[in-house]
Symmetry: D4
């Protein structure tokens, strides 16, 4: 497979039947599957067909291990952290975590350390200052990635969420804030793109293990 | 005068002659003057006519004391702080400071404590935790007011600046960030509106001294 | 508590169970609670658990007095006014009022004095010219804060509402209008942010009572 | 001529030579001319060629009476008023006035009655409550047309100006405000379109004199 | 009443009970009523209470004649035309027509003469070249008002509709087109603002009948 | 060459020296050259080096015939028309015409037939109803392509221009109008993209001559 | 009929009854019908009345052959290709295909050849390098038309789709990308405008068969 | 230093004198310096003071080696590639390259491989398929990062440039395109932010060499 990782299925707008078909094909070619943006209804059908599948309702993802296998390999811990500014950013963060688990990583998950409560992040600093990549999900003004970027020396993948109202413009305010971050180590993905943020964090951690 | 303070003159687009005329009228009615957004050329004419005027080139302001008087009253210190994220936000911050001086306040000025260098703000916390109002000028992602708002209990007047490039959209990114601040004590004025930010901070401090 | 006021809970997107848990924790640490953007369904569960809670369906808020106490202290009147341009702006204004009540203030509420009926505001001027802070909620063109700002000398907290259609762009037109107010004493919060407007008005009134 | 009025020339981007040619053609066919958005340089050439031309530098217009005639007819007064919020809106207002003069009207001109100084408009109310149409030029938040619309019963032609900075977005804020006016008698033209505002006001006044 | 016309009620977001109350008050003070943006459910309640009311489901309006009277006066015809570009613009056009009927006018209604079928408008030109004011409702590119403006000499009130998809941006494309009309006699109201367009057309026609 | 036509050079931002080098290379490989968005200064250098070059100052283009050849082949006439709404749209239209000439076509050029003067277009209809493709350049509200599309049965390539002010938003209003055209035969290119409009019109005409 | 093709009916917002009426009228005047954006409910009524109608649920279209005829003529193949970037763009592509079928063409349909899987497009190149026009439907970043344009020499009609989330802004991102295509042979229609894209591709292919 | 790399100086808006002062301070504390967005005038002063400085006029950067040292260490090659779509994107790409050189890397530079000429990228594939990170600078539709992302398995840092006109909106079109990339390995920085793109690419390559 092109990127070292099998294809990921964007489930939104596909029929449950076609999902089952796609997953079957991937499994037959001995790939592990990841489905994102899956609805409860779609997940039900998929779980009936593939009882070994792991469904995360908050993340709206489903993972299926390779044929005749299980997700029982040892996950790599201590290399990636996933942070959220508030509890409402959790679904996006969990999509990143599911993606990373599917890639073989066990990220450290730190919830609700947004800038309005500065003590909370500072108590967690030891957990984020030795990792290879950090995913930060934040809505509203999207200030957390800049603050995190100021405390660490690894790349920070900022993922704006659509959490907020009024002038948050469905996540555009957070997106613009992150793009204009005065911290040089902050890079940005699309609004609510937890999958992409996790995938890029995983690719960065992969560099350490590559031997080319 | 309506607001307890004399009229402020927005100099942009007015002829130097008309500025002299307006200031003369105000001084005759025994008002102290403040001119904002004054150009170097306009300032030169005004200073020639009113040698007692105080011109701030960075702030683009001119202050003139009441007729037969001087700005020699004792300024009230310790009630207002003015912060900037970077050194490029200085002109906007100085417009706020000039406005506050004209209102009778001596604000504490703290430069370049943006979020990408988190230690810098924390060293200054003692200077901002006992004031009545804080003006915070920041461009790019405009995250500083949220962070400041998280450390203090007084109102924070956030003034976005047009500092930045690309997706900063001339200050719109900072403006949106500030409006969506997750800190409840942050309120916002127009992009580059140092005058307004200072004026509102002064009005807030005035509450302490009012006896109604 | 950091700001002199206990934490406020943004209820949108939280389960009723988690709300009950959060309120219980706050009450145990002897804090008075405020929940905003609460749904009817969430409110029902909360009221069942905390019969002393005060639910405002229009404002979408719930207040709970400190443990073994009641909201029976004397509210401070005469210091804050809350105005609306139209009757449709009422929910946002009531969120500000609930916030102020929770802070210990009894604001004066003046409904439907928008600029298209100029006599109505003028009849109410005596009620707004001696307060410490004014909240003005307006949708559509958002002109009322500017007009109010022209009649008073205290800070005016303008809160744009999403009332309107077409080019009102969900409150963006009102927001832009307020940010560009030609009245120097007008400052702005996010669209529909009644909580924030009320909170800042309360913090301003607090200055008068602070003794630092 | 189609509209009862001769063609108006938009001078921006045309050579001085081609302007002279166009005006000559119009004068030959016995039309009175109006040129808008004329530069100083263009005006100089036109004045040299047509000494009877009337050039208004503030309005950036030039008017030329019909061949062998002069603008000596009696202008109709008392039917149209032109108002501005601030002194910076004057150029747009003067373009409207020049257009109306060219149409045969003598509008009443009321400068600097913006909403931040509410007494000023009220003193002028007698001058605007008996006219057939009112042009209101305003920048920044563009609130004046709504307020004027609340005091009168004739159509109000609102013309947003690009006066302001930051979130005024070059007149977009004022434009949106005017389109969302809660006063039912307010209609809107393009930003800085003084010509159009004047022309429509003139067409409205014409109805009174038409005998069809 | 201020504008010579009684208050108009914007029904959206009001309870049926409060509508009945408002209409009762107006009728008691001997005013004729107009309610706009009324829902089917609201209309049912109103019709039950005021059987003399005239409900237009397409326009979403209700009219109620003055107490002990009926809309039996003779309507003034031949002075106003209402045009639409397509059949989907009909609801907005009918709101204008209901408003004009309530003002005492009988507008000429010309449907579906959009620019993609140029013959259709040309066949109708005799019906629009002698009126005092024309309302043109159009969505998508909003080109019809410009074309109409090119054929007539009276004011054209352009009302953009939200008809279209994709880059029509809910009517913004049509709104911008109309504001930039190269026809000098075109003025603009808010998206879907049929009421305003009709009201202004009526005020213009009123000029002919005023005797001041 | 890939498209049957040689490379076209976008001159903006290139040094005169590098332009000469690029053109030399193309001529050596026996291609005819087209340079667009060339400045006067760049053109001067190019003309000095290649005296056979044809420079169009209005279009900001330069054409150079194949080595040892000249543009003396017979141009194909009668297949393409290029129209403008106003005289200010001329530069964009001429860029399209230069591109078509370079492709071997001689388009019919019809200037200043915008919708505000409906007779002008109708007089020209015979010239546009038998061609294979029409380019229409228009600014402001961009209505002309829709009207043209209503009269003809071939594809209409609409090119919005940045002509206008205020709400024309530098051509965005015209662009949106054209994208929403109710005429089904209208397709759109970028603002001021005269080259692209001409190129596509030429490719369409080519279909008639292709023999595949 | 004006364009050589009969009228197309935009079904959205029309009653089923009025659709039946319109189709009847067209059939009586011996035209073949195409209805776009038809709902399942509308289609059911139409199919009951015209059993010869061909309904495509994915494309949301209905075609009806001329009275007493059938779509039995031989379709012209080999001249037009329709491509999509992903499977979610299929409905828009099928609307184009239905339109082309109704015009007498049988386009080649190539699904899911988006840029993230570059091999897929390259395998299909032989199918697209000899046609007269290509329709490319793509959402998200809308890059496929540029890439296709780089491989072929005929016009490419790019149709942005609203597929995507967050910063895709309902298709605006794809639309802007396509308008800025660096490939000179790419022209653009409205978001989701499959009908228009197909119609223009058909008109281009028509040129080959025209004998004028 | 916080990030393992010394401070980078954003030179825009700073006086030449203050630049000299900042660089002196950094050199004294034994740091190597990087200045970005430096003007020719600023560079001249800096070069006079620090003759060992390396100035890149295209990139608008200056690098100064550590005190008493030189940039003579061996740069790490083969780990990072920098690509541009066109030659106009070169300045942004060179800013990334200068940043990487300052970090100790020697990136592979591949110019002008934009999507409209698909063969060019494919010839270069061997140079990009074994690196750790790729920077891609592109303006206009910004499609190149998606295409590159489709061919490689490492992270792609996409940097939109302001190259283009009209609907490119100063780089916003490219930015939106990149954020919506259908390739999962693409992450994005601000418009023209060559420094940030290079810095993040360097941090990613650093992972391979870190031993924590
Ligand atoms: N820099 C500024 N920004 C915003 N408003 C200002 C500024 N300076 C003065 N003003 C306000 O503009 C008004 C004066 O405008 P003008 O009549 O045009 O001189 C005063 O009421 C001030 O409150
Ligand atoms: N300042 C102006 N703003 C908008 N339209 C104008 C203005 N001045 C003239 N026009 C219109 O522009 C048209 C003339 O444009 P042109 O043919 O380019 O001279 C006339 O029909 C006028 O109605
Ligand atoms: N899906 C569509 N998108 C854009 N225009 C369409 C579509 N379907 C039909 N049309 C156009 O809409 C016009 C019919 O509109 P109507 O009169 O409302 O049925 C025809 O001239 C068609 O060219
Ligand atoms: N071209 C650039 N774009 C964005 N950020 C930059 C650039 N150059 C330097 N910086 C950042 O700006 C900060 C320095 O800003 P300043 O204190 O104003 O010199 C550093 O922390 C850098 O990370
Ligand atoms: Mg939190
Ligand atoms: Mg700094
Ligand atoms: Mg009201
Ligand atoms: Mg004023
Ligand atoms: Mg129609
Ligand atoms: Mg013209
Ligand atoms: Mg795919
Ligand atoms: Mg190139």
């Amino acid at each position: 497979s092109r990127c070292g990782y099998p294809e990921v299925i964007f489930c939104e707008g596909k029929t449950s039947a076609s999902l089952v078909e796609i997953f079957s094909t991937l499994l037959e070619s001995n790939q592990r599957c990841l489905g994102t943006r899956i609805s409860e209804e779609q997940a039900e059908t998929v779980l009936k067909q593939f009882p070994q599948a792991i469904y995360n309702q908050t993340a709206r993802t489903v993972r299926i291990p390779e044929k005749d296998a299980a997700f029982d390999e040892k996950l790599i811990a201590g290399e990636i952290a996933v942070l959220t500014a508030g509890t409402s950013d959790r679904p996006v963060a969990e999509e990143a975590i599911e993606t990373l688990t599917w890639m073989g990583y066990e990220p450290d998950f730190i919830l609700d350390v947004g800038v309005a409560g500065p003590h909370r992040l500072q108590e967690q600093l030891p957990r984020i200052q030795n990792v290879s990549a950090i995913v930060v999900a934040a809505g509203m003004e999207g200030a957390l990635p800049s603050v995190v970027g100021g405390w660490v020396s690894c790349p920070v993948i900022a993922v704006p969420t659509s959490v907020g109202y009024g002038a948050s413009l469905g996540g555009i305010a957070a997106l613009l804030g992150m793009l204009n971050s005065c911290a040089a180590n902050v890079t940005v993905v699309n609004i609510n793109a937890g999958f992409k943020a996790g995938f890029i964090a995983g690719l960065i951690a992969d560099q350490k293990h590559s031997t080319s």
